[in-house]
Amino acid sequence: MEGTTTRRGLLGTFAAGLSALIGAVLSLPFLAALASPARRNAAPASSGGFIPVIPIWDLPKGQPKRVEITADGVDAWARQPRQVLGAVWLIKVSKEEVKAFSTVCPHLGCSINTTPQGYGCPCHTSSFSTEGQVTGGPSPRSMDPLEVKVEQNMVLVRFARFRQGQAQREEI
């Protein structure tokens, strides 16, 4: 009788183990699908190259101008021509030199406006100098500069997004 009980116990553990294994195996693809977007390069990104945004003569010297960035974008699988990716603050320093800042506040992602003192975020009152340096409010870092160049009188910007809410600048 004792033998039967042990056998039943062992076999029972075996049966339960097998069933649990099936459950684990079946869950695997689902968990992978669920977690898939957490990976980097989870989707084909829009090309990270320079995007032409505005002819240089359309920029007033020394004054920030907000310009939309339009480019062919890919949303998951769908390729959309001339999609608005975001906006950028452009400041013409000289005929050949332009500075560019992301309009996204490094604090929590609101849109940064110009103020008499430079720039400011209307959401949580972070303020920045004309050079983009943080001068007040909760923003953990200065405004995010973007790579910019002028070629054949066209201003080109390499559009990028950055992780918010941290002192260190990290492109995403």
């Binding site: 029972g12 049966a15 099936i22 669920l34 769908a78 390729r79």
Partner: protein, 570 residues
Amino acid sequence: MGRLGDWLDQRTGHRELVRHALDEPVRGGARWAYVFGSALVVLLALQGLTGASLALFYSPSATDAWASVHFIQHHVWLGWLTRGLHHYGASAMVVVAGLHLLQTLWFGAYRSPRELNWVTGLALLLLVLTFALTGYLLPWDQKGYWATQVATSLIGLAPGVGDPLQRIAQGGASYGNLTLTRFYATHVVLLPALTAALLGAHLWLFRRHGVTTPPGMAESEGQAKTEPFFPRQVAMDAGFGLLLVALLAGLAVRSHGTALEAPADPSSQYLARPEWYFLPLFQLLKYFHGPWELVGALLPGVGLLFVGALPFLHRYFSARRPRVARSLAWVVTLGLAGAGALGVAAERDDAADPNVAKLRAQADHEAALAERLASIGVPVTGPLDLYRNDPVVWGERVYTRKCQTCHHPCSNDPYKGDPCLEGYASREWIARLLRQPSSKYFFGNSHIDEMDAYTGDEASLRALSEFLYAQGARKDADAALASKGEALFDSEGCGACHTVDGRGSGDAPDLKGYAGEAWLAAFVRSPGAPRFYGERNKMETFDHAKLDDAEVSAVVAFLRTQASQPVKFP
């Protein structure tokens, strides 16, 4: 742990429930023949979980469906494996359901009072097939699109109510967004709900009537050998289930998921074939034509009614013939074997048909092409515009549809078309044209016979060809040879009819920039212009109503590639 269990048990009574499930008496003892029912539950869980994974990414619209499936296959973590498991899982459902049915049949477990177990089981089998049918369309690729068309067209054959029924099935007069939303909703909401309800009823009825004594075992012996479901039967069920899942995973890994064919193209020539479990029905239809087609479509329904009526037939006949159960089991088994034979016949017919092989190769080529082009994303306007991502590919498609109706493939034998353009404007093609303008591969069939064949020596021919070849702004043109050819052009009398000034004489096409981008585009738009054939023109004029500018550029891009292709006629 134990205290938590106690707490939970006091509130839910779950221990009683688990004990009830595990202590189910298995009359005659555990055996491998009983594993199929549980295996179906495992498969159902597999389909549910992989289905939920796919639904996280799938988008049921005519513009997005194919692209989202391509995305799953290539960009989702283990997406290919999930697709493969779901695909092979569907086939496994049909196989294991068939085995479950045969086991129940030969063990006589359908007999009174288990009529409703049998009927609900059969209804579940039909649900499995409906799952398969609705799921097949969802990727919106050529395979699913055309195979499902056949199914919905069959519905349309029903006398009187065919048309409205077909519209209801496909969500409108033709295939599109509404077909996909309808099939998707059916596949992921209606069918799972129905399956859950029917499975509940099936299991409840099973527990109510219990396991039958195995055939050939006396009632008393069966009673004596009764053991609980747990652990022996559970171990067998789980072992088989795990083996099945491993097998499916192996299949999915071997084929890296499952094929995604080129996007559904209503204008294409495609070989419509259903998935293997519907092949018998497909083959059956080959034997019925015209008004009999409906009979062919209804025959499986009659078979199904017979199978459904089995317990009632048994009850009716068994009073007079005690061994009728065996006869009935044989009838159903042979019927299934017959269906299998039909499926094999369908495969053999296809294997023996060279046209099938050709169309399959074409489909594989298109699938690989679409997959490559989609790697940079699919246009929001839909996957068919994918081919526009590559002007040459797009051009070939436009060429095949609009130009090949006259400019036949060179491989046609006998050749009855206008000039064959494979290898067009290559040095070899030009040289052959100069030698034999009246060949059937050039102007022979178009009955343009004003041009004289060039009879000069081989070196002059090469120089003349190079001159014309260089007109198309070819990077590899030999400038010295071409200028030699230019001199010959006048001295050999070509200039008597052909001008090289971009204006033309009306006698023969002007050859300035011959086969270059601008020349070709202008020629396609108006071959009857004085610069080209003038009043002698015999080619169709492709104005903006027939080809838009993008299509003309694409065709030109494709034709330009031909100069580096070999000539494909003798």
